[in-house]
Structures are given as C-alpha cells and as structure tokens.
C-alpha cells in the first residue's frame, strides 16, 4: 500500500512538528499555582517559574507609588509583599480584604512582582454561578 505508507509518513511529519510547537508553547507559557505557604518552601528552579498566587489583600496595605502599586497578600497568617507593575488599572473590586489572584514572578528577596491582578469582591452577595466573581485586568 504505497499511498497508505505515504499518508502515514505525512501524518508522522505533521504530528512531530505539532509536538515540537506544543512543547515550545508549553515551556513559554506554563504558570504554576502556589499558595503563599508553598511559595516560602520553593527552592531551585521552581523559584524562577512564572506563578499564580492567591490570597486576601491585607487591610491597609495598599500603597500607590509611582509606576507601581504595593500591597500585601495574606493567607492563613502567612504574608507576601506584592508589587503590581502592570499597565491596566486595577479592578474596582480590588480593595482591602478582597480575595486576589496575582500572576508574575518571585524576586530573590521574597517580593512578588505581579503583572496581572484579579480580584474577587468580598460582596454581601453570594458568588453564584454566572455572576462575575472575578474581574480580570489582564488579557488572559
């Protein structure tokens, strides 16, 4: 079956190409989810990965500085200082006590540089399915 053989070779080339592309895309965009307590225990290569961390915005910690916004995320007593350097204004839901999800990289001093921040309002209304519990500032 000559045609069949050619088809199999062609398919093999296509699939191999796609696998290479998929792997490249994966390494470029993979993002790890961590809790704040996990972040403290990371070491080696894991420290330099792109990650997402969630927590509550510590009351009174939001500071507007030139070109960035600093705040502290806390979760079960653990704290992590965050600097937001993204270009989009933070969502209106981002305020003291709100649940926030930050995405970015950890600096060697334990500071988190976020380029994306999502915030979920601590609303009196229950977050039901279909309600916008999170407002995304980033293009993700």
């Amino acid at each position: 079956m000559k045609a069949r053989g050619k088809f199999i070779i062609g398919s093999g080339i296509i699939v191999a190409t796609l696998l290479v592309l998929a792997y490249a895309g994966y390494t470029q965009s993979k993002t790890y989810y961590h809790t704040i307590s996990e972040v403290a225990t990371l070491h080696g290569a894991a420290l330099h990965q792109r990650m997402r961390v969630s927590g509550d915005v510590a009351a009174g910690s939001i500071e507007h500085l030139d070109g960035r916004i600093d705040f502290v995320l806390e979760e079960q007593g653990k704290k992590m200082p965050v600097s937001y350097t993204g270009s989009d204004p933070l969502p209106d839901t981002f305020k003291d006590g709100a649940q926030a999800l930050v995405e970015g990289k950890l600096m060697p001093d334990g500071h988190f540089m976020a380029d994306q921040v999502q915030a979920k309002c601590a609303s009196k209304y229950q977050a039901t399915p279909g309600q916008p519990a999170a407002m995304n500032t980033g293009k993700s």
């Binding site: 490249a24 790890y32 009196k124």
Partner: protein, 690 residues
C-alpha cells in the same frame, strides 16, 4: 405555582424513564404497541419541560422573589427583554434550558421519523431518553430551579420567605448578544445528541449501510450551524463587553465550545468518505461519539468550575455527575463498537496520496490534532495536579503555536481538497485547476508585502486566503459558464442555478468562503496596536491615523446603574470625524462594575476605546485605546458561513426530471426507497465531485 413547575419537571423525568425502559422492552419483545407508547412518552417529555420553562419564565415576569433562582438572577428594574434571558443566567436555569432544547430536538427527531425506519427508531428513542434522564435527574434532584427561599418552620410547616427585590442579572449578561448567545451555543451542544443517537442506534441495531448518515446530515448541519453562530456571538460579546481589546483568549469555557465544533467539522467532512467510497466507517462513528462527549464535557466545564475561567463560575458539586455520565457514555460506546466492529469494515483503501480521500484524511488528522491540543491545554491544570501534584496552566502562546499552523494547513486543504478527484488526481489536472489561483495568491501576497504586511504567518495567511477564494470563484465560474452557455442566461443567474442544483456542494463552498473571510479578520490581529493614557480634559492621545481629544467627563444615574463616561472627539488628518463615549457602569442591584466599550468599526480597522478606570491618586480617568485591524471581516465572514450552511441544507432543485433506478442513485438524500423502483432525480454533472 412553583409546585406546578417542579411537578411538570418530575413528570418529565418519569416520562423519560418510561420511554427508556419501555423502549428497551419494546426492542426485546418486538411488541409494536410498547415501542409506540415509548415513543409517545419520549415526545411527551418535550411538552412537560416546556410547561416547566413557561412556569419559571412566569416567575421572572411576575417578580416572584420567593423563588431562590429568580431572586438571584433578576430584579424589579430589569428590562423585560433581560428578564426573559435571566432564565439561563445561572446554573439551574441553564440546565433546565439544556433539557428543554434537548427535548425539542428529541421531539422532532421522533415525530418526523415516526413512520420511517421502524428498525432504527426504537433504538434512537431509547438513547435520546437515556440522555434526557441524566439531565432531568440534575433538574429534579441536584439543581432544581424551583427552590423556594425560606425553610421548614415550627411544626414542620413550610415557611416561605419573599425578598422585596432580587440581586439582579449579572451586568455582563445585560447585553443583547448575551440573550442570543447561550441559546445558540446550547442548541449546538444539544443538537449533536441527534446524530449521536442515530449513529449509536445504527451500530446497536446493525442497521444496514450509510443510512444513519443520510438521515442525520441535516441534523448535524443544524447543530454545527448553531454551534458556529454561538461561538461567533460569544466572541463578539467578549469583544464588545469584556473590554480587553480582543475576542478570543483561549479561556477554558471558550475552548469548551470550540472542541465539539472542531470534531463536528471533521465529521461533516469525513462522512463524505463513507458515502462516496465506503471508507472510514469506524472513524465516523467515533467522531460522532466524541463530538457528543465533548458537548457534555463542554457543558460540564461551563457549569462546574473544574477549570477556573474568566467566566468565573463558582465551584459546584455538579462536576461529579457529569464525570459519571461521561464514563457511562464512553462505556456504552466502547461496548457497542466492540460487539459490532465487523459491521463497520471498510469497503475501500486509499488509492493515491494526491486524491480527495487523502485530503479528507489530512483534514481530519489536523482537526483532531487541534482538538486534542485544545483539550489538553484546557485540562492541563487538572492533569498536572493529578500527575505531578502541582497545578500548572498553559497560556495563549501554547494554543497559538499549535493551532495557527494547523489553521493555515486547513486553509490550504480548503483550497485544494474540493478540486482533487476521488481516487487519484493527475498532474495535468492539478496544473489546470491550481495554476491561476496559486499565481493570484502569490501576486496578492507580494503586493501586500509592499504595504508592510510582514511576518511569516500573516503573509502565508493572506496568500492562502486569496488562493482559496480564487479556487472557489473558479469552481462557481466553471459550472456557471456551462449553464449560461446552454440556457443563455447571464453568469450570475447561472451561478445561482448551479448552487440550487447541488446545494450541498456549492453551499459548502460558500461556507468555505466565509471561513476565508474569518481568516482574513483573524490575520488582522497580527497588526494590532494599543496605547493607554491618563487623560484630563484637553489632553490628546494618538493611535494609528487617529488623534483622540478628551472633551469632558461626566456621571449619570438611572434605576439600574450609575455610569461614568468620557467624551472623546476623534480627529483624523486634522479633521473631526466623530465623538466616542466609552463608559463604565456600576450596577446597583448586583454591585458590579461593567465596561462599555466605544467602538468605531470600519472594514479596514476598528478603533476600540475603553474607559479603563480612574487613577486613584489623581482621580483622572485612564483611557485605553486599541486599533484592531480587519475585525469586521470576522463577523461578516460568520454571516457568510451561516448563509452557506443554510444553503447546504436546502433540497436540490430538480432541473430536469429523468427516471433512474434507485440503485444508481449516489445519494439517498431526500429520496426514500419506498417511493418505488424508480424515482425522479436531478441530472447530475458526471464530473462533479461533491
């Protein structure tokens, strides 16, 4: 009244269980009366769910806030249009809506075929009822939309609480597209149940030949058409409402809607292999199975919060039910296929690599690869947590890297596939068919290069788009010229006549042309620009050919929301062109803010302006402006795709009546064997390769 709705739902559940069990009993005992009563029960489900839906709508329109679902998703000040749409704003209502659409399809599938295919229909009825039982179980016992607020008071008496006003509809859904988008998408998701039921029924009943494909062709196209419209409306909604300047973010919920669309597209193409050449029988059956399973998976991803998404649905317990249901479907499909696999043996083999068959095989291969990549990327956080313990997500670069080459390859196949002959194509035929379109494509790309159309993918995309458009045009021209010479009509009339004589083929070309337009629109993304600036009155911002001058800021209020608005004057070449009013609305009932984007759309580019918020230090508004080239082509292409899909569903016009024996009829399409030994059929072009 709430009792009325939940009672109707419960009866629907009982009817579905009866249709399922009596249907099986009817198949085993071969008693026609039992089969008939099972079918009638299956059709009754539709009436009962309709009553439940009507009852829930009645609560919305009468502002009955004693019902938890109404209180959560509506309020008094909500416009009537949105009160209607609030039905599918949340989990419980969406699932009810799913059930209703499914029961509508099931009703028509059973009703229209009530006198046909007596060997096949009992199986179809049982499978449809089986799917309905699952959703009605959710509607009745897991996520009932008819829960009342309040609880059991002293002495066991029910005590009903009523709120004075509801929480209001999610403002993101208060947009016209959002009223149409969910029903469209759900009609797509549910619609694939019909071809699934027929395919599984044909396999279980070992129903001869390709009949199930002929019977379900239009059903599949209806489902596919709805899915296409649903996806495009969703994209348009994301573009117009979410305010991030794009229309597709590879968000899990978006991906979920794309998956069955991809496999459905693969199926619509690969059935032709079975009809024409008796190949790919196993593949087709599995494509339908997988498409249906992906529809269920899509519903699950949308509704269960298994994967977090910007659609941000709360986590709910409903995911487990879907996993079980998917497991059952997979098991049934595997067993049905394994026991009847000899029935699916292929009649032919691939003859040549340069043939229509091989173009379909490659089409299916890359579509499935795309589907797999999207599925893998979407579920990656779940898989990685299972296998490595850490939750890892992949972003748009992953999806784009894999899918852009696939999409371009598909575009290439769209151009060459339809012109390749079945079995084997000669080199001369290739040259004759492709020389001019290819030259045209290259010429267009070279011209575009001079206009700054750089980048490998956009360049390839433009070249292929022109190439495909030219091959389609050539196909219409070739056929129309023959008709126009014979009938003495002009080319345009002849092209119309040509289309009506073979709607499936030429409707298909129209769909392809629509896809070309969509590709051109997507290609424009490569040339997107954006700029963000804090603006005080009098400040200017320049983007592309436009200069935006801030005139004013104001705040307004009505019953439903307060609104902050910027007034921007747009100048182009020093001339004032228009005013834009980007704004942000704060909805009072739900305490949520929403962006109202101001878009000035033209075929060449959209000027897309967002009121992004206020800088808390200076209290000045931040304006984010985008230039999105060619976006309009996507929406226009979508309309062309829908028109083409509609065309392909029309029956062929009978140009001349000849008598020919049924056995020679290439298509079972619209011709029932009961009509006799000879049927009227249109003259078909012998060189046609539909």
């Amino acid at each position: 009244m709430d009792v009325f709705g939940s009672f109707a739902l419960l009866l629907a559940f009982i009817a579905a269980v009866y249709a399922f069990s009596a249907g099986i009993a009817g198949i085993i005992t071969r008693r026609p009366l039992l089969t008939k009563s099972a079918r009638n029960a299956g059709m009754a489900v539709f009436g009962l769910i309709t009553l439940a839906v009507a009852s829930l709508e009645y609560f919305f329109f009468t502002d009955n806030f004693s019902l938890a679902y109404v209180a959560e998703h509506s309020n008094r000040a909500l416009p009537a249009f949105y009160k209607f749409a609030a039905l599918w704003a949340g989990q419980e209502g969406s699932l009810l809506w799913w059930s209703w659409l499914l029961s509508t399809y099931a009703f028509f599938a059973l009703f229209l075929n009530r006198k046909k295919h007596p060997e096949l229909m009992p199986y179809v009825g049982v499978i449809l009822a089986g799917v309905q039982i699952f959703f009605l179980t959710l509607n009745n016992f897991v996520a009932s939309p008819f829960h009342v607020l309040g609880g059991v008071g002293a002495g066991g008496a029910m005590h009903v609480a009523t709120l004075s006003d509801g929480n209001g509809l999610n403002p993101l859904l208060q947009y016209p597209e959002m009223v149409i988008h969910p029903p469209m998408l759900y009609s797509g998701y549910t619609g694939f149940t019909v071809p699934f039921a027929f395919a599984l029924a044909a396999l279980l009943g070992r129903y001869p030949g390709e009949k199930w494909i002929h019977i379900t062709r239009r059903w599949t196209m209806v489902a596919w058409g709805f899915q296409t419209v649903g996806i495009l409306l969703g994209m348009h909604w994301a573009y117009a409402v979410l305010g991030w300047g794009g229309y597709w973010a590879w968000d899990p919920v978006e991906n979920a809607s794309l998956l069955p669309w991809i496999t459905g597209t693969a199926f619509l193409h690969s059935v032709m292999m079975q009809e024409k050449r008796g190949m790919m029988k196993v593949w087709n059956v599995w494509l339908v199975f997988v498409t249906f399973m992906l529809c269920i998976l899509g519903t699950m991803l949308t509704r269960s919060g298994v994967v977090s998404s910007v659609h941000a649905f709360a986590e709910s317990s409903i995911g487990g039910w879907f996993v079980w249901f998917l497991g059952i479907i997979l098991a049934v499909c595997l067993v049905a296929w394994y026991k009847n696999r000899d029935y699916l043996r292929s009649d032919n083999q691939l003859d040549s690599i340069v043939s229509r068959e091989s173009s379909f095989l490659f089409n299916n291969l890359v579509l499935l690869a795309a589907c797999f990549a999207v599925l893998w990327g979407t579920l990656f956080p779940v898989f990685s947590e299972w296998f490595t313990g850490s939750k890892i997500s992949v972003g748009p670069p992953f999806f784009n890297k894999v899918n852009i080459p696939i999409a371009l390859f598909l575009l290439l196949l769209t151009g060459i596939g339809p012109l390749l002959a079945w079995r084997k194509t000669s080199f001369d035929a290739l040259k004759r068919n492709f020389a001019w379109p290819l030259a045209g494509g290259i010429a267009a790309a070279v011209v575009a290069l001079f206009f700054g159309f750089v980048g490998f993918y956009p360049f390839m995309c433009l070249m292929l788009c022109v190439f495909v458009a030219l091959t389609i045009q050539a196909e219409f021209y070739r056929g129309a010229r023959v008709i126009s010479q014979r009938d003495g009509t002009n080319l345009l009339t002849a092209a119309g006549e040509l289309t009506m004589r073979n709607t499936r083929r030429y409707g298909g070309y129209v769909v392809h042309f629509g896809m070309v337009l969509i590709f051109i629109g997507i290609c424009g993304t490569a040339f997107k620009q954006d700029i963000q600036k804090q603006m005080a009155p009098g400040d200017t911002l320049t983007i592309g050919p436009y200069t935006l001058v801030c005139q004013n800021f104001d705040e307004t209020q009505n019953d439903n929301y307060t609104s902050q608005r910027a007034t921007l004057e747009v100048f182009r070449d020093g001339k004032s062109e228009m005013m834009l009013y980007p704004s942000r609305r704060f909805f009072l009932a739900s305490q949520v803010t929403e962006t109202m984007v101001a878009v000035e759309s033209s075929p060449l580019r959209d000027l897309y302006v967002v009121y992004a918020g206020r800088n808390p230090d200076t209290n000045q508004p931040v304006i984010h402006a985008y230039i999105n080239p060619l976006v309009k082509w996507i929406w226009f292409g979508g309309i062309v795709v829908v028109l083409g899909t509609g065309l392909a569903m029309l029956p062929n016009r009978r140009a001349a009546i000849v008598l020919r024996p049924v056995a020679e009829q290439a298509w079972g399409e619209g011709v029932s064997p009961e009509a006799g030994a000879a049927v009227a059929a249109p003259i078909r072009r012998t060189d046609g390769h539909d």
